[in-house]
């Protein structure tokens, strides 16, 4: 990272504005990237929709009666002979029966599975019952969950608007969060795994994490831009850019710490050790956390700045600052000074008088 500099020094430079990435200034690039990813996700979702699992669609249930062994792996292997892709759910019922639930299968496949199960458990095919099992996660559950999400998003938007005293910030946060969800859903559809209740829980977690992360980044922006209109050194965009740069180290650390356990479950558990039951959850979380943390920096804050600059108050202020700076430059100002101001540098450069306006003022 940054040549031979250590991470901590890189953090220092970001903090002081000595090093600064023009994240806000290049917002058009980020917006186009998000637009492309969002569109791609929509296309993927249309072309290759999410596959709903048996909890949502129902499935076929086989009951093997009078078994001598209740080993669950026998059933899993038997189903895999016929349906290699399916993740059957096996449970022992009442001590001498094994219940196997698979996705909805054709009659031919059902007969094959019945045969395989009978063979595996060494029973007669007549002892294997087959029936349809309805969804445990019915429409009513989805509906209630959806209502919960709608109410939560509205409340969170109201909370952000009140806390930051700026509805634009809350709009930017919510929009960024929605794009996170869309992109995560797109990636999930692309991988093509079944949607299970765990996936839904994963998406709800993403929703929470995404908004949480935006709150943290926005709070830094709020801190840096308090009273930005009362001075003429930096514009709102420059202050916001400094905030994003200053919070970069935090965002990286947080994402790494949040992603490590999830990545452990996803890569070690699901792909190597074969814990299929956790892979749906960990995939949705992995994508969601990464996208959510990135969008706080590259989408939410630039979006906020873009919205703010439409506000007359801020537009005038930005014009005033830039005009003053041009005048200063024309009058032979220090180029480093100007550049530092443009980077929204929080620390003054020693060796200059900042003018009387820079002297501490009595608190109003």
């Amino acid at each position: 990272m940054a040549g031979s500099m250590t991470f901590a020094q890189w953090g220092n430079d970001l903090y002081t504005g000595r090093r600064s990435y023009p994240i806000i200034a290049q917002r058009k690039i980020w917006f186009s990237i998000v637009a492309v990813l969002g569109l791609a996700s929509i296309v993927i979702l249309v072309v290759k929709p999410l596959v709903l699992g048996i909890d949502f669609r129902g499935g076929t249930e086989f009951t093997v009666n009078e078994v001598s062994s209740t080993e669950q792996s026998l059933a899993i292997d038997a189903v895999h002979e016929v349906l290699p892709e399916d993740e059957p759910r096996v449970a022992v019922v009442g001590g001498s029966a094994v219940r196997v639930q698979t996705e909805i299968v054709e009659d031919a496949e059902a007969a094959a599975i019945t045969e395989a199960l009978a063979q595996a458990y060494e029973v007669d095919t007549a002892d294997v019952d087959q029936s349809f099992v309805g969804p445990t996660w019915g429409e009513a559950v989805s509906e209630r969950a959806l209502w919960g999400v709608v109410v939560f998003v509205l409340l969170a938007a109201a909370f952000m608007a009140v806390y930051f005293r700026a509805w634009r910030m809350s709009v930017a946060g919510i929009l960024a969060m929605l794009s996170d969800l869309l992109i995560s859903a797109g990636v999930y559809a692309l991988v093509g795994w079944e949607v299970t209740p765990s996936t839904i829980i994963g998406f709800l977690t993403i929703l929470g994490f995404s908004l949480y992360d935006k709150m943290v980044v926005f709070d830094k922006v709020r801190e840096n831009t308090t009273g930005v209109l009362d001075q003429s050194r930096n514009t709102y965009a420059e202050r916001a850019n400094l905030a994003v740069n200053q919070t970069l180290v935090r965002s990286i650390n947080t994402s790494v710490v949040a992603l490590l356990p999830v990545a452990g479950i996803l890569f070690l558990g699901a792909l190597w050790l074969g814990a299929g039951t956790l892979r749906d959850l960990s995939l949705s979380l992995f994508v969601g956390i990464a996208v959510g943390a990135a969008s706080s920096i590259f989408l939410a804050t630039p979006l906020d700045v873009a919205l703010r600059e439409r506000e007359p108050k801020y537009r005038e202020h930005t014009e005033r600052v830039l005009a003053e700076r041009r005048a200063l430059a024309a009058g032979g100002g220090q180029e480093a000074e100007l550049a530092a101001a443009a980077a929204g540098r929080s620390q003054l450069i020693p060796g200059h008088h900042q003018g009387n306006a820079a002297q501490p003022r009595r608190k109003r």
Partner: protein, 635 residues
Amino acid sequence: MANSSTQRSRPVRTLVVFAILSMVVPFAALLAGVYLEPKTDENPGGASLAPGLALDLQGGTQIILTPVSTDGSEITDESINESINVIRQRIDSSGVAEAEIANQGGENIVVGIPGEVDQATIDLVSQPAQMRFRPVLTYEMGLPAEEAPADESAEEGSEEEATEDSGDVDARIAEEAAEVEPTDPSDLAQITPAVQEKFDALDCTDPNNLVGGGGDDPDLVLVTCANDGSMLKYILGPMEVDGTHVTTASSGLVPGPNGSVTNEWGVFIEMDAEGTEQFRETTERLQGLEPPRNQFGIVLDGLVISAPSLDPGVIISDGRPQISGNFTRDSAATLANQLSFGSLPINYEVQSQETISATLGSEQLRNGLLAGLVGMALVVVYSLFQYRTLGLVTVGSLLVAGVITYLSIALLSWGMGYRLSLAGVAGLIVAIGFTADSFIVYFERIRDEVRDGRSMPMAVERGWRRAKRTVLAAKSVTLISAIVLYFLAVGGVQGFAFTLGLTTIIDIAVVFWFTHPMLQLLTKVPFFRDGHAWSGLSPERLRATGPRYVGAGKVSTPAPAGAPAADEPAPEPALAGARAGVAPTTDASGRRLTIAERRAAERRAAAGPGDGPPDDAPGSPRTDDAGSGENEENR
């Protein structure tokens, strides 16, 4: 908990109090519970050191119910789905346990309940519900009969007699009803001597009279109690409208006269065409009668759940009655739920009740957890790498949060029957990230303060004040999501919301009462106070190279420790936005030049072959800074 002023001065006390309240006391309570009321097969609700597990991890009981129509109508898919909602509501209201409810083969309902299930739960699930709208004939307080307070033995005798005679009285009521020919269901002639006798004897403080149970004859008068806690007893006329005509019932704020929303909660009912017609006829008659005969008794399972009155002149002809007055949010929602349940003409027959094993292979779960543990170990390594010794505080805080979470879950699974599902376990693993973020935000703020040149104790205090605000604001959003989802969602989502809310609260408690006091203590240890290179807070590592204003008119020019300055690639590039090739602003070691030195350099540059003036009007200063080629480094 100690207030903020004592907190500042007495971190040790905060730590000790927090440890006692959050860990020692709950642990002692749990141990006492395990000792006094251990979890056994006979006592599944007892305490145990291992938290209860949900259906997917532990298995439980599978009950197969067959809905049986009580009015001969056909059981449709729709009514099965409705029944599933009813059963889910009943189970959810009995605790936080996640039950699995599905329709099997289009005719049965399979209910999976974690752990052992007692008869009361099965009764709750399979209970039939029948709702009828009846006109109120009269009512009074259903207190115990007091006509013979002097003679207790006689009273006892009469009570026994009453219970013996109850079948007899019911038979007489039926007999007498056959002789009376009421003009309409509100006719007071229906109150025959036998009805009056039963009414007088009815004691609504006796829990036995509040059990309900269907079986009331729709064509006869009904004498019963209200189960809304009002202790009233009623005589009700024959059924006017069957509850099955109710299509939906919901609760909400009552709309005001001109579309505004009032502050009053109410229940809104919608009826089908037949019900609308019957209801119109009934309201037409009832609205003209004197109180209490202008009241409707809504009878669910033989008990009055509500008895709204009609104002004179109100004829409800659109089949959308609305009940308002004296509701709280909860009571309105409860009544709406009761009204929706009661509209199903369905009984449930228990087909079978068997134990069922966990649906997830224990091996798979173990592998998943193992992988999660590896991830945890990586988190520890990363925080030690990032924050050096300070990373130990992160690890310690995570451990404390983990212990408190474990204790809360063990206690909750004892006290409220909370059960941990796989989704819950995953939620806990994810919570590591959320929790660790509080510490990261806090540490980064402290580092920022150190970068500004503050001493360690000052940096901790000021960093805390700023971090506190961010942490609280961000956690509130998470808490809002947990609370909203817990109250609005059902089943698995509710369990998830519970875990999320729990870990968030624990997280806030830990960062306030463990991490912060811990850091306050550490600032007193020379290793951290003086910013040892391995403390993670060393000023040398955290301060920008080059001169800095240190106050009182002085500028300090620290010798760049660890000599990174020598490695600094070129004089300028680190300086954001500085244009190369104009005038050097730093010397070879990266130190910023003084004004005089720069002026001299400028003069030299001007004397040399024609460089323009130092500034070429930075028209768009924002876009000019730092090389755009460095953007890949951001992620």
